[in-house]
Symmetry: C5
Subunit: 325 residues, 5 copies
């Protein structure tokens, strides 16, 4: 699907243009053009990016290729090419998935391109066009900011969800450690690492946009990109904190396993060391020697019970002293 939004000198918004009408607007510096290629066919993509906008073939290859591509920013003089990552709207906490958004930023145009059917942050910006003029009144760099801002806004709820999940897991670890808890902690930790790997280059890209490096990003927009940058720093900070919590939950889990082993061993040892000597004594008086004076003694049997009690009591005292109860 190809969506075209043209804002003319009088800041009127034209939708539903044909692709060829773009050709006329493109050289006009007072127009602002946003072309959104959502799950377009390779032919359409090639036509718009290659023939209409004349972008570099390598960037078109990037737009068309499937498979993971890390966030990046490339400067081609008259336009910038960005790859940024949006969160999958139905992301699961244990296997974090992301969408790639390809974005071209020129003096008077923004082109967005993605392979998925639906990209919520972009759709939210499209809806915002109708009710908030600021989005297109401030030029292509502000429009670009609005898209990336919407995209970054999705990260915060994810971090909050991860936080809640970890809180639950931490409680679970303390109350009743279970291998499934372990596996969930490990997969949360894994998601946090994936998140960090996406956030880190993304932060670097935004950081470059806040500097005077690119002529199409003016001073005013730099401040807004810095806001996104601060946002990303905050998310990274929280991600680090969550990684700490995950690590310490793991530590508690592993320790609880060995504590439990200790407890089991103690129970075994206490029972064994009490009953093995007792059984031995009982075994002695089960022997069939003809001459065993204790057996015929009238107090023999009661005295054996006294011996049993002494042995058991001595052992219990010994364990008490050792602090095993």
């Amino acid at each position: 699907m190809i969506q075209i939004f043209l804002f003319d000198e009088e800041k009127n918004c034209h939708k539903d243009l044909t692709l060829d009408q773009i050709r006329i607007s493109l050289p006009n510096p007072d127009h602002l053009l946003w072309v959104n290629l959502a799950n377009a066919t390779p032919q359409e993509t090639q036509y718009v990016l290659g023939d209409l906008f004349n972008f570099h073939p390598l960037t078109i290859e990037d737009c068309l290729s499937v498979g993971y591509q890390p966030p990046k920013i490339d400067d081609f003089g008259s336009y910038l090419f960005l790859i940024v990552h949006a969160l999958h709207p139905d992301h699961r906490l244990d296997t974090l998935e992301t969408f790639e958004l390809n974005l071209y930023l020129g003096e008077n145009f923004v082109v967005t391109c993605y392979a998925e059917e639906s990209m919520p942050p972009v759709e939210r910006v499209i809806q915002r066009l109708a009710r908030d003029q600021r989005v297109y009144l401030n030029g292509s760099d502000f429009l670009c900011h609005a898209i990336i801002d919407a995209l970054v806004d999705d990260y915060m709820p994810l971090v909050d969800q991860l936080d809640d999940e970890l809180d639950d897991l931490e409680d679970a670890v303390l109350q009743k450690p279970h291998p499934i808890t372990l596996q969930r902690i490990l997969s949360i930790k894994h998601s946090l690492m994936t998140l960090r790997r996406i956030l880190s280059p993304q932060r670097e890209i935004i950081n470059r946009l806040t500097r005077d490096e690119f002529p199409m990003v003016d001073k005013q927009s730099q401040i807004y990109f810095r806001d996104i940058y601060d946002h990303l720093v905050r998310i990274q900070d929280l991600t680090e904190t969550l990684r700490d919590i995950a690590t310490s939950a793991l530590d508690i889990y592993l320790n609880s396993t060995s504590l439990r082993l200790n407890e089991v061993m103690k129970a075994l040892t206490i029972v064994s060391t009490i009953f093995l000597p007792l059984s031995f004594v009982a075994g002695v008086y089960g022997m069939n020697f003809h001459f065993m004076p204790e057996l015929t003694h009238p107090w023999g049997y009661p005295l054996v019970w006294v011996v049993f009690a002494l042995i058991a009591g001595g052992m219990v005292l010994f364990f008490k002293k050792r602090g095993w109860f």
Copy 2:
């Protein structure tokens, strides 16, 4: 609550001004103005920061937003915007909490803004205004320094408390390791990591204030900010040392668990390896075979006790040799 302090050319202090009287003082470079927004309503905040001072909307958003924001410094040409973290006055050692203080620093004004009812470091500076003229005689940068200094001063007692707590925990680990000790060590370690994450960017902010980067901070004040910087370096140093101690306490704890397991196992092994053979011998002579010459031998029973003694003695000697006692 909004508090306004105006110091005029003759260095007289005016409190209880209305907000509109600020408008007149603001353009006067010889006046020094401090506006403190403590738990103000969003309307008040918007009015003072946006309409009176005309600060950038993004910074006002930062002031109004709830939720964690990492320390930062932003330069807007005619004023600086800082976020710094103060310690929660009732902070607990195991879950460190911080307050965020938003601070604007201009040539002749300081604006502080926070969401909490009470922010002790700011209140201490307000009390100090009455008895120490230096705070406002040296311009807005020195006033800003006084506020941040008061804020940083709160960290040191916390580090001392953490130190004491860790000392106690270290002793507890050596004397009687308990899962609760483990949990407390882990939470102290967690607090230390949180502390480090707050201190590190804060130190970087102060470091930037000690350089010639910002025109509203003069040479004289840079030296005072360097003092805060040294203070923060010292706190970070101590934090690192405490983290080492926490880690080594953890090591001792985990080792003591496995040592204890060893001890329990030894007791079990000693008892089992002594009594299992003894019980076997007793069992042999409890068999009911018709032809068992030992049973009818007059020395049979006493000799079995000799065998018992030999087995037990041999085992004990074996364990002694192995160093298991």
Copy 3:
């Protein structure tokens, strides 16, 4: 084997030239020459590199020497000398092996040199010469890019294979941990570390080729080298992710070992703590004392079974309460 490809002013391709015909073409800036030394004898190598091209003796030494050499780039003014690593075509996942490709890049020539019989990426570029004019129409730097690009393209399938293998291993770890699984995880992790050690300097080399550092790489080709660079960044990213997965698989493996030990210990403890007391009671009534009133009591034997049941039932309840079942 020495292969010579000469592209003259009219962009015609001459193969099967003699070495001496090179001498004439070399000074002609409109010619493009590619000499490929595949498993050539030391004499041939010395003759071509030393006598014909007059390269620095140290680089010839590098070409002739066997044994591992890390990727590097050296600037000799009129030409660049590169060492890059191609994957062994029959590489095994657990012991990653690489080929070294030595490459000279001059204004109008490329010389490639390797010790192996067959170097698939180079052979693919030779085949591409016939059907894709772009490879030699854009000068020596583009030809060099085509060779390195072909070489880097081989890494991606390897990373995919490693990914699949790790997926299998992760499942194996969760279902039935076995020492062989451990060994395979460790060797995959090892391969990933080897891969990282090759990729990291290689990325750095390509990064330097994307900058204005070398005069023989023009602006247009820099963009293509940046494409290779992005490719390598992506491979490194995936490698890091795989390393994380390998590490977490290892964690699960090690934990499953200790969990299994726990389970075994519990079984032992449950059986022992139930049957040791029972056996003791049975032993008591196997004693041969003459006076044991219980033995002659008509309900004695049934009551002992009640005692057995009480002990066993009590133990089971105790274990249930402790959560050992």
Copy 4:
């Protein structure tokens, strides 16, 4: 105690001056003045540093404050302020303690200030004044170098002591691991970390003194400061090596614990698996069934002993095959 050393134009040394005589010498660039404040009262310190030398109040605060302060260097234009750490003369290896030495370096003066009664490195330099003219002939920067050099010289013997101690501990770990050994290794490791934390900023301070950064340190003295720098690098290198040894001693210790557990478990298992089956067989023939043909068989009893021998022998063979002996 305040010690004053004045070296006049003729390089005569005057001791025992009054504080007011300093006032006259101070502006004379040909004089060299060393004032040493050893455990002086706050009033004296304030008078000398504040009133006489007019140093910045923050540095005086640093001199007067108790509590740990990390090494640092501050440039106040006409003088440098340094904090360096000397070793406590009675330092113990397990809890490393340091003294702080505050030092002012100006064009023609050095002021040293410390809170302790006795600071051996400074005292050694005072004694050296009498017999080695070089110390004061080369200006204030060389005198400063002499003091810091004496201070750094104390570190080497400490590192040697730590080395010897670790050698002993390593032997102890291999021969007879004991919890006390563990604790000593951990505290040595702790001392090494403390040492590293002091050395690292101190090295950085000296490094800055070897560069052209400060006008009061001339080229000639820079070479001497570089010597101290090399000295510190060497000590840091050795400290790192010792940390490695401590870590590997810890590894051996922890492994020896688990090896020992293994050994204990094997003994238990061998005894149990031999005697439990034997006891069972004996128990069988201790049963009181009326019809048990084996019991009346004349070879019954000897054959049971054969069964005992076969079971025991079979078990021993099984263990031998498993390599458990």
Copy 5:
């Protein structure tokens, strides 16, 4: 021993000069002088370095001092002072030892100085002087390169030996883990860390010699120093790989210990859980109650054997299901 080699304008080599003849050659820029102080007395060293060459006293101190000194390079304007490390010719793999070589490099002289009787790399260069004119025809910087090259050449065989040793150890770990294997792995790892600590600054020194930093090293020699640099990078790369192998061998070792414990525990558990219930049943029918109907039953004894078989068989099935065999 002092060896003097003088190469005059006609490139003739003069050995066996007296020290005083050096004085005449030294100012002659067309002469090349190499003085080698091998295990010279302190007086000789002081005379040659101090009186003849007039080197800085601190460097002479470095030459005379015993004890470890890290590699370094110091620039004294008219000459460079280097400390580099050669391997001890009889180095053992588990305790790596190095020799220190002190080297002065001036425009027309090289002075080498070491405390050991014999320094093989230097001796090899002396022997090479006779048969390879290149060594002294290219000036002092090339001679210096030849010495350091010979010294670095000794590292490669060591790395190969470490590789072989680690291969053996890895096999030993997989086949029959033994505490001695552990100790050898740890000491190899230790040697690799020592090696890394020597190689890293040495590489940095050579790196500085490949840049335009020092006037006495010309462009031509820089290329040769870059060759040594590449050599060191390769050795460091291999060292890192070996460290990985050592770490993974350690992991396998530690895991095999816990696997073995698991195996021992299983054997114990299987035997105990089979025979404890059996013994209990046998014990029951060994009781002496007067009224035990089973005992008089003609099928009693055979049925007990059926019970024994059922219990044992049930346990074995249970273990099979759990996968314990």
